[in-house]
């Protein structure tokens, strides 16, 4: 037989990480549902700017206020984007194709993580861009007064946390409804527990992500050492740990 029994793979390079990342980003908006979700994040951000314009006195229409208003609506949709990056592969069973083309599941997880961070940063850029536009078009005369770029860092951090937390829950559950319920249900339960149980209240900032993030909401990056430590401990508990557990689960999971 003239045909060879071995496969010569010496001339083939592994799939570069950049290509995996590009494909993962593309997957997040190449369906109608994905496009709506990404589009909604931008559209809602724009709507919020208009609302701020309508309800604020003219001297309150500052760049800082415009940007700040974008956080809440974005933070509802961004985690869903993070969750779907993972779980849609399982609900639509495309994971079979994804992992057949890139057998290293850790590389796929890394590409998805990078894609989630780019999307989170993208939401931030959209907020800043739209806020600047709103300030120029309808802001106070000195709309940019007192503004410094460093003031937007907490906002960026919060968006990255929230999209990564979504991704982590997606990895942990590999199931869209379960991940969404956990993401939105857990803070409510935590809030109840920490409000009702006296002896836990003091520990809240160390355990409860929402509490630890409060200083960041005040658009203040000058956290005290203790506040940074609290932020770190809650990020570890609610983002890093679920992420690692979910990642390990994915490595072992049978892809169906």
């Amino acid at each position: 037989m003239s045909t060879t029994m071995t496969l010569d793979t010496s001339g083939t390079a592994a799939v570069p990480f950049g290509r995996l990342l590009k494909v993962e980003l593309r997957k997040s908006w190449d369906t109608r549902a994905g496009l709506w979700l990404v589009g909604s994040i931008v559209a809602i951000t724009a709507v919020v700017m208009v609302v701020v314009f309508l309800v604020s006195d003219s001297d309150e229409r500052t760049f800082g206020n415009f940007v700040g208003a974008a956080y809440a609506p974005q933070s509802v949709l961004l985690p869903v984007l993070g969750i779907l990056l993972v779980t849609s592969e399982w609900s639509q069973r495309t994971a079979m194709v994804t992992f057949a083309l890139e057998p290293s599941r850790s590389r796929v997880v890394a590409a998805k993580t990078a894609a989630a961070m780019i999307l989170g940063a993208g939401a931030f850029v959209a907020a800043v861009g739209l806020a600047a536009l709103a300030t120029l078009l309808g802001g106070a005369d000195d709309g940019f007064r007192g503004f410094e770029w460093v003031d937007t860092v907490p906002f960026l951090l919060l968006q990255l946390f929230t999209v990564l937390q979504g991704l982590a829950y997606g990895l942990l559950w590999l199931n869209t409804p379960a991940a969404i319920v956990t993401f939105f249900g857990l803070p409510i339960v935590m809030n109840l527990v920490f409000t009702l149980v006296d002896w836990l209240r003091d520990a809240a900032a160390w355990v409860d992500l929402t509490t630890a993030q409060l200083p960041l909401f005040e658009n203040d990056i000058d956290l005290s050492g203790e506040q940074w430590a609290q932020l770190g401990s809650t990020v570890l508990l609610w983002i890093v740990v679920p992420f690692v557990l979910g990642w390990l689960r994915l490595l072992r999971a049978e892809v169906k």
């Binding site: 071995t6 083939t12 592994a14 799939v15 494909v23 593309r26 997957k27 057949a100 057998p103 892809v255």
Partner: protein, 312 residues
């Protein structure tokens, strides 16, 4: 090219794949045949690293699948044509694959043309595709990276007779150019039409393998003869040491047609029908995998068609 060695996969108490060993050679289409739930899909999933084996291993061209760089360029995989996002267009699905493998968009158009999906169809979302269109898209996806090995799970499922013929020609041509093809099916008919080699699996175990002729030969093969005096013909055949069994309105004889004709001449019996015993492979298939059938195969000895796939 594909080497499966002692492959076992256990789910709790259930042995889905039990010490399976076989190989697929380049230049040939190997059919992986067995009833539903026999372990075909599990075996193929282990091949491409989606399921971990309990024991044993699979190599493709000497490599474990996970060690093949950019595997889409070497091994084309279609495990489930429906396992694609229903909201993506057919074209987008291929473009994602091409982007991962680092192929130009022109390759997508080539593949669409090859599987006869029109540009208009390619723009439709996959949830609106018929099963046959999904299979064509899946084949296009598997062939995107111009691989030298193809692993296809039930690729003919949902294709109409013309589609099956198209796939046969496609895979035959692919094998003739030196490619290795492994395709599974629960329908003997499809495999018989397309495959050069067959691997029969039932209840997780390989029950037979070889080409069609050697499978038939190993099971006796035989000829179906109908004559004006079956009793006399049977007697003469038995006297000469051939195995004879009544079948329908004739006899099934363990000899080839020429010998039966010669014996009939000697016995001066007029033959009204003489042909290789039909459904021979089907009998073998049903007999070998019989223990795994959901239906009781009452008519297995007479070539009755039993639909094994309707309700699994």
């Amino acid at each position: 090219m594909i080497e499966v060695q002692g492959l076992t996969r256990r789910y709790g108490d259930f042995l889905a794949v039990d010490d399976v060993t076989f190989s697929c050679e380049p230049g040939k289409v190997t059919g992986f045949l067995g009833p539903n739930g026999a372990g075909k899909t599990t075996t193929m999933r282990v091949m491409v690293g989606l399921t971990a084996p309990t024991r044993g291993r699979v190599t493709i061209g000497g490599h474990a699948y996970r060690d093949i760089p950019n595997p889409g360029r070497h091994v084309g995989v279609l495990l489930d044509a429906g396992a694609q996002h229903g909201g993506r267009t057919g074209r987008e699905i291929l473009q994602l694959g091409a982007a991962t493998m680092g192929l130009p968009d022109s390759r997508v158009d080539e593949m669409l043309a090859m599987v006869s999906l029109s540009p208009k169809e390619a723009k439709r979302r996959m949830r609106n595709y018929s099963l046959g269109m999904k299979q064509r898209l899946g084949i296009a996806h598997a062939l995107l990276g111009d691989p030298s090995v193809l692993i296809l799970d039930e690729p003919a499922n949902g294709l109409d007779p013309a589609g099956i013929r198209w796939m046969r020609d496609l895979l035959r041509g692919y094998a003739q150019r030196g490619g290795t093809v492994l395709l599974s099916s629960h329908l003997l008919n499809e495999v018989e039409l397309i495959a050069d080699e067959m691997v029969l699996i039932g209840q997780g175990k390989i029950v037979a393998q070889g080409d069609k002729r050697s499978l038939l030969a190993s099971r006796g093969g035989g000829t179906l003869a109908v004559s004006q005096d079956n009793a006399a013909l049977a007697e003469q055949l038995r006297r000469q040491g051939f195995e004879v069994a009544p079948a329908g309105d004739g006899l099934r004889v363990g000899a080839d047609a020429a010998e039966v004709g010669r014996v009939a001449l000697e016995a001066r019996v007029v033959l009204t029908e003489l042909r290789p015993s039909g459904g021979g492979l089907e009998d073998i298939f049903l007999e070998l995998t019989g223990g795994t059938q959901r239906e009781q195969v009452a008519g297995a000895g007479t070539g009755t068609t039993v639909d094994t796939g309707a309700n699994a």
